[in-house]
């Protein structure tokens, strides 16, 4: 067996280990994606935040009232 083939063999083992790990990661992601779709987070409402903010401003509301929307559980400031 030549040195080139020997080093090639080592490379093949490293490559296969790496690829199998990647496949494991993809499998994990796929299973998680199905579970997420099927269980908790089914269809999410699509809200165009910028559009709603603009509408709020048009309605005479102050801009700071909209700044907490992105933070889950945050409350608007009280005047």
């Amino acid at each position: 067996m030549t040195n080139t083939t020997k080093s090639g063999d080592k490379l093949l083992i490293v490559l296969l280990v790496l690829i199998v790990l990647m496949m494991g990661q993809i499998m994990k992601e796929n299973v998680a994606s199905i579970r997420m779709a099927v269980l908790a987070n089914g269809a999410k409402p699509k809200v165009d935040v910028d559009k709603v903010k603009a509408q709020l401003r048009q309605a005479g509301l102050k801009p700071y009232e909209a700044q907490y929307w992105g933070i889950p559980g945050a409350q608007p400031q009280k005047d």
Partner: protein, 467 residues
């Protein structure tokens, strides 16, 4: 060969046990607990959900006022209960839809589906388009609803199912004037998707039997364009899992699925790896990349025969793990790891794309790297090909020159005691050995002929010895 028999036994054990386990679990469970879970997510407690009752079956949801009598606020139902005839790519898609008494879709949740994950990555976004729509409106794909790219059958099935079931509930339960379903046109069988795969397999088989390299490349090109680019449908381990789970698509809407499965199995049982060798779109891509690498004179990656033989077991390992995981989980999501599905579905996470690019780069330096070491469906096909009726055999005039061993691009031929030995599960029927044999002693022949000849010669040998 003993190792192939051993691998076949392991495969059968995992497949049969897994399928039995899956069906046993299915018989123990029903959709009610999934529906209840989804309802709990949608209605967080202020509403009172009545048990599933009535015809059509539905959940009535009331807003409980302390002073006033109960007021109906929504109706929820499993779309499958009302439209069991509508199927996606690989079986029914069960959704829980919530509709207000005025006929507005308040929410839709996925309960269960068998679609290939690579094609339905954006299912959530697709389904969210229905929210806020009135059930009296139309749900035509491409006009009222944007479909999922490369998942038209899934998109159509969801749109038709929501449309038909919601209108039924609207008319019968909510007494609304909602009209007829918009997209519920009767489906007709598309003969083109029966004829084209037939022609594809015929070209591939003619290429194999006629030793015609042009026909082989033509079939590979046609497979790449038709199965890869146009239909994004390939023979994959996902189909194998779905067969085990008895999840079959509707023949009228998806005849290609049946044609591919039947023709691949037939060709495997008669000739061997016709699909892998001459049709698979990903194999074509890999071969082109490899030849490109040779044209550019890039160094080829070479591995020793011993290590290559052992590394080939990796694909069997992948096949067994994927099958076991899929049956344990109860859907084909674990099976969706094949590089070709990611490439042709064009939907993947960053890890998925990195994986595909990695495999394609390796294909430039080593002939069919994916097929040789990793492809799980190739491993399954190989096990069947080992039992094919016709096989390439060596005539008695073989001098053991070893040319066939040298020219075989997949290393399926090994010289043992100056006699070539073919590893049939690895043979892609490229005919390189047949073409290059200086004595022209390689040819297709029925397997049992060889056995009979061997038996005959052994008997003769025994007789001679006795004499």
């Amino acid at each position: 060969m003993k190792k192939n028999r051993f691998l076949s036994i392991i495969f059968l054990a995992i497949f049969c046990t897994g399928a039995l386990y899956y069906h046993f679990r299915q018989s123990q469970s029903n959709d009610i607990h999934l529906e209840n879970k989804a309802l709990q997510d949608v209605f967080t407690g202020a509403e009172k959900v009545h048990p599933k009752l009535g015809s059509p079956p539905r959940y009535d949801i009331y807003q409980a006022h302390p002073d006033n009598p109960e007021v109906l606020t929504a109706v929820a139902f499993n779309t499958y209960d009302l439209t069991p005839e509508i199927k996606g790519y690989a079986g029914p898609i069960k959704l829980l839809a919530v509709i207000s008494p005025e006929g507005t879709i308040r929410d839709i949740r996925v309960l269960k589906h068998s679609e290939t994950p690579a094609y339905v990555f954006t299912l959530d976004d697709f389904i969210s388009q229905f929210k806020g729509k009135n059930i009296a409106g139309s749900f035509r794909l491409g006009k009222d609803i944007d479909g999922i790219t490369r998942a038209t059958m899934t998109s159509e099935a969801v749109a038709r199912s929501v449309d038909k079931s919601a209108k039924k509930i609207g008319r019968q339960a909510l007494k609304l004037d909602v009209g007829d379903p918009s997209g519920d046109q009767p489906k007709t069988l598309s003969y083109i998707h029966i004829i084209l795969p037939l022609l594809l397999f015929m070209a591939a088989v003619c290429g194999v039997l006629g030793r015609n390299i042009f026909l082989r490349w033509l079939a590979l090109l046609a497979g790449f364009i038709y199965l890869g680019l146009i239909k994004s449908t390939m023979v994959s381990v996902v189909q194998l899992v779905n067969i085990g789970m008895l999840k079959f698509p509707d023949f009228v809407t998806n005849p290609l699925w049946y044609c591919l499965v039947v023709l691949t199995l037939l060709s495997l049982m008669i000739l061997g790896m016709v699909y892998c060798g001459s049709i698979c779109p990903f194999a074509g891509v890999q071969e082109v990349l490899f030849h490109l690498g040779r044209k550019l004179k890039w160094k080829e990656l070479k591995f020793s025969h011993e290590v290559t033989q052992r590394a080939r077991y990796v694909k069997f390992g992948v096949l067994f793990v994927v099958l076991a995981a899929s049956f344990m989980i109860g859907n084909s999501s674990a099976a969706n790891i094949e590089a070709f599905l990611i490439l042709f579905a064009a939907h993947a996470s960053q890890a998925g794309w990195a994986f595909v690019v990695f495999i394609l780069v390796l294909s430039v330096f080593h002939f069919r790297f994916w097929c040789k070491f990793l492809c799980p469906i190739g491993a399954f096909n190989g096990l069947l090909a080992d039992k094919s009726i016709y096989k390439i055999h060596f005539g008695p005039e073989c001098g053991g020159c070893g040319v066939c061993d040298k020219v075989c691009p997949v290393g399926a031929i090994q010289m043992v005691d100056d006699k070539p030995l073919i590893d049939y599960p690895e043979c892609i029927l490229c005919n390189q050995c047949v073409e290059k044999c200086p004595k022209e002693v390689l040819f297709f022949k029925k397997s049992f002929h060889k056995s009979a000849q061997q038996r005959g010669s052994t008997e003769q040998d025994t007789l001679t010895k006795h004499d």
